[in-house]
C-alpha cells in the first residue's frame, strides 16, 4: 500500500526525519507514536507532499516522491491536519464538494450526504466552516473533507486529542466504522497507549526522527527504548 524507503527530511541543519523505512499493508490501522517533536507530523507532511523528502515514497506500487500535493490527494492519499484547516468562507457542504470535485474527480451530492451523516455533520451542512463550528465539529469536518476525496489511505493527525476518555472510545469506534465502511487503510498519530492498543493492529514508534520500534501495540509498549523515550529519562 505505502512503502517508505530511507525517507529523510532536513530543515536547515536540523534532521527532522532520518532514514525512516517502513511499509503499511492494505487494510491496516497503524498507530504512529512518539513524543512531541519526534517527527510524526513531518512524516505526514512528507507522505502527503507538503514537505519535500529525500528517499523514496511509494503508494500502491507507484513512486510518488516527486509528485505535488494535489496529485497525491487525487491518487488516494487523504490526510487531516492536527489544527483543523477548513476552507473558512465555504459552508461545510461546499468544503466537501470542493474536495470531492477536485480530489475524487466528480460531483456526487448523495455521497456528500452519506459522508455528512457518517460524520454527524448534517445539521451543520450549510453553515460556513469558519466560526459557526465547535472544535470537535471542525475535527470531524477535517475527516469528512478527506473522505470526500475518496482516499484509500487516510492519515489522521491527532484527531482524538483533547477528548475525554468516554468520547475518545466512541470516536475510536467511529474510526473503526469508517475503516470498514470505506475500505480504508489508516495511519493515525495518537499518544494514548490504551487507544492505540484498542484501535490499531500495529504501532510504529518515532523518536528524534528515527523509528525505534515497530510491531503490535503490545510488543512496542513493552520495548524498553519506547518506555524510555516516553518517560524521557535518558534524554532529560
Amino acid at each position: 500500500m505505502l512503502e517508505l524507503d530511507a525517507v529523510t527530511v532536513r530543515f536547515g541543519g536540523l534532521v527532522a526525519l532520518r532514514d525512516v523505512t517502513f511499509s503499511v499493508k492494505p487494510g491496516e490501522i497503524l498507530g504512529l507514536v512518539g513524543p512531541n517533536g519526534a517527527g510524526k507530523t513531518t512524516l505526514f507532511n512528507g507522505i502527503s507532499g507538503l514537505t519535500r523528502v529525500r528517499g523514496r515514497i511509494r503508494f500502491e506500487g507507484r513512486d510518488v516522491t516527486k509528485l505535488p500535493l494535489y496529485r497525491r490527494a487525487r491518487l488516494g492519499i487523504g490526510r487531516t491536519f492536527q489544527i483543523p484547516q477548513p476552507m473558512q468562507h465555504l459552508t461545510v457542504r461546499e468544503n466537501l464538494a470542493v474536495a470531492q470535485v477536485f480530489g475524487a474527480g466528480k460531483h456526487n451530492p448523495e455521497r456528500i450526504e452519506e459522508i455528512l451523516s457518517v460524520m454527524e455533520l448534517q445539521a451543520q451542512g450549510d453553515r460556513p466552516a469558519e466560526s459557526a463550528l465547535a472544535l470537535q465539529e471542525l475535527k470531524r469536518l477535517e475527516i469528512a473533507k478527506a473522505l470526500a476525496t475518496e482516499p484509500r489511505l487516510l492519515l489522521l493527525d491527532e484527531v482524538l486529542a483533547g477528548l475525554e476518555s468516554q468520547a475518545k472510545r466512541q470516536f475510536a469506534a467511529k474510526l473503526k466504522e469508517l475503516h470498514q465502511r470505506f475500505g480504508l487503510t489508516i495511519v493515525i498519530v495518537e499518544h494514548d497507549i490504551e487507544t492505540i492498543s484498542g484501535l490499531c493492529s500495529r504501532a510504529v514508534v518515532l523518536n528524534f526522527g528515527e523509528i525505534i520500534a515497530d510491531g503490535t501495540p503490545a510488543q512496542v509498549f513493552r520495548d524498553p527504548r519506547v518506555v524510555e523515550s516516553y518517560t524521557g529519562t535518558a534524554h532529560a
Binding site: S48, P68, F81, Q85, M87, E94, V98, A104
Partner: protein
C-alpha cells in the same frame, strides 16, 4: 460577518431557488434598460463617445477584479494585455485581411498567449507577482516600439478596418459601438458570474483562505490561478481589440499606456472589486469624473486627483463604494 463582504457564490442559507431567479433576472433587465437609456434618450455623439470609452474601461476593470477577487492576484500591468489584444487584432485584420469580428476574439487569444510568459511569475508571492507584472507591461511596450517593421513603431499604425456592419446594423456608428460594448460587458459579467459560482470558483475562494488545506484535497491551485490569469488576459485583450477598431489608430505609447493599468484599478477599487457590478459601474463613474470634472480642474496631471481617490478609497472603504454604503446602512 465576513461572509457578507466576500460576496458568497452560493447563498449561505439554502434559499429556495425559485425566489432568486426572478430577482437576478429583474436586476439584469433593469441594468440593460439603464444601459439602453442613452440611446433611447438620443444622447449626443460626444456623450456616447465618452460612454464607449467608459465601457471599454468597464471591461478591463471587470477582468482586473476577476483576477484580484478569484485569483488573489493584484495586477499593475493589464496594459500589457490591452495593448497586445489591440495590436494583434488590428494587425490580423489590417495585414491578413481577416474579418474584424474574428480578429477581436483572436486579439483576446493572443493576449492569453502573452500571459503565458507571466506564468513563472506565479511562483512568486503576491507582492512580487504584482511587481513582476508591472515589469512585463514595459516589455511589451518596448517590443511594439522596436518591431516597427510590423507595428509601424512609434509612428503608429492606422491602416486597418473598423468595426463592420452586421445584418444592416452599423457597429462602427456611435450607437452601434455603444450597444456592442454593452453586450460584451454583459457577456463578460455573465462569464465571471458563472465561474464564481462553479466549483472552480469555490476552490479559488478556498485557496484565498488557506492554500495548503485546499491543495491537500486535490486542488491544483497554481493551475486554477493560471486559468484566472488567462481568462482575465482574454477579456482585457478583447476590449483592447474593440477599442483599437473603434479608435482606428494605434501607437505603442497609447496602446500600452499606464492608463490601461491604472484606470481599471481605480474603477474596481472604487466600485468594489469583490463584486461584479462594482468594477463596471466604478469604471463609468471614474471615467466620466476624470474626463468631465478632473480634466476641467487640472489639464496636465489630472491623474493626481485619481491618485487621491484611490488612496482615499483604500483607507476609507477598501470594499468599495458598495461596501461603504452597506457599512453605513448597518450602522444606521
Amino acid at each position: 460577518m465576513a461572509s457578507l463582504d466576500s460576496a458568497p457564490a452560493v447563498p449561505l442559507k439554502a434559499a429556495p431557488a425559485k425566489a432568486r431567479v426572478p430577482v437576478g433576472a429583474l436586476i439584469g433587465l433593469g441594468l440593460l434598460v439603464l444601459a439602453a437609456l442613452p440611446v433611447l434618450l438620443g444622447a449626443s455623439n460626444y456623450m456616447l463617445g465618452l460612454l464607449i470609452s467608459a465601457l471599454i474601461l468597464s471591461g478591463v476593470a471587470l477582468a482586473w477584479a476577476l483576477l484580484g477577487n478569484l485569483g488573489g492576484m493584484v495586477s499593475f500591468g493589464h496594459a500589457a494585455f490591452f495593448g497586445v489584444g489591440a495590436y494583434a487584432s488590428a494587425l490580423l485584420a489590417g495585414k491578413l485581411g481577416l474579418p474584424v469580428l474574428l480578429t477581436v476574439p483572436l486579439g483576446g487569444v493572443v493576449a492569453v498567449v502573452s500571459s503565458l510568459a507571466m506564468l513563472p511569475a506565479l511562483r512568486l508571492s503576491g507582492a512580487y507577482f504584482a511587481l513582476a507584472i508591472l515589469a512585463y507591461a514595459q516589455i511589451f511596450r518596448i517590443l511594439a516600439t522596436e518591431a516597427s517593421w510590423l507595428t509601424g513603431g512609434g509612428a503608429g499604425y492606422q491602416r486597418y478596418p473598423g468595426l463592420p456592419t452586421v445584418f444592416g446594423f452599423d457597429l462602427a456608428s456611435r450607437t452601434g459601438s455603444y450597444l456592442l460594448l454593452v453586450a460584451c460587458v454583459a457577456l463578460c459579467a455573465l462569464a465571471y458570474h458563472a465561474v464564481r459560482r462553479s466549483h472552480v470558483g469555490l476552490a479559488l475562494r478556498a485557496i484565498a483562505d488557506s492554500e495548503d488545506a485546499t491543495r491537500v484535497v486535490g486542488v491544483n491551485s497554481t493551475f486554477l490561478k493560471c486559468l484566472m490569469l488567462m481568462l482575465s488576459a482574454f477579456i482585457t485583450g478583447v476590449f483592447g481589440a474593440l477599442n483599437a477598431h473603434i479608435i482606428g489608430f494605434l501607437e505603442p505609447d497609447y496602446a500600452f499606456s499606464g492608463i490601461w493599468s491604472l484606470m481599471p484599478i481605480i474603477a474596481a477599487i472604487f466600485g468594489g472589486y469583490r463584486t461584479i457590478a462594482g468594477p463596471i459601474g466604478g469604471a463609468v463613474i471614474i471615467y466620466l469624473f476624470d474626463q468631465i470634472v478632473a480634466k476641467g480642474l487640472i489639464a496636465v496631471g489630472h491623474q493626481i486627483i485619481l491618485g487621491f481617490v484611490l488612496v482615499g478609497m483604500v483607507l476609507a472603504a477598501p470594499n468599495g463604494l458598495l461596501g461603504l454604503v452597506r457599512k453605513r446602512a448597518r450602522h444606521a
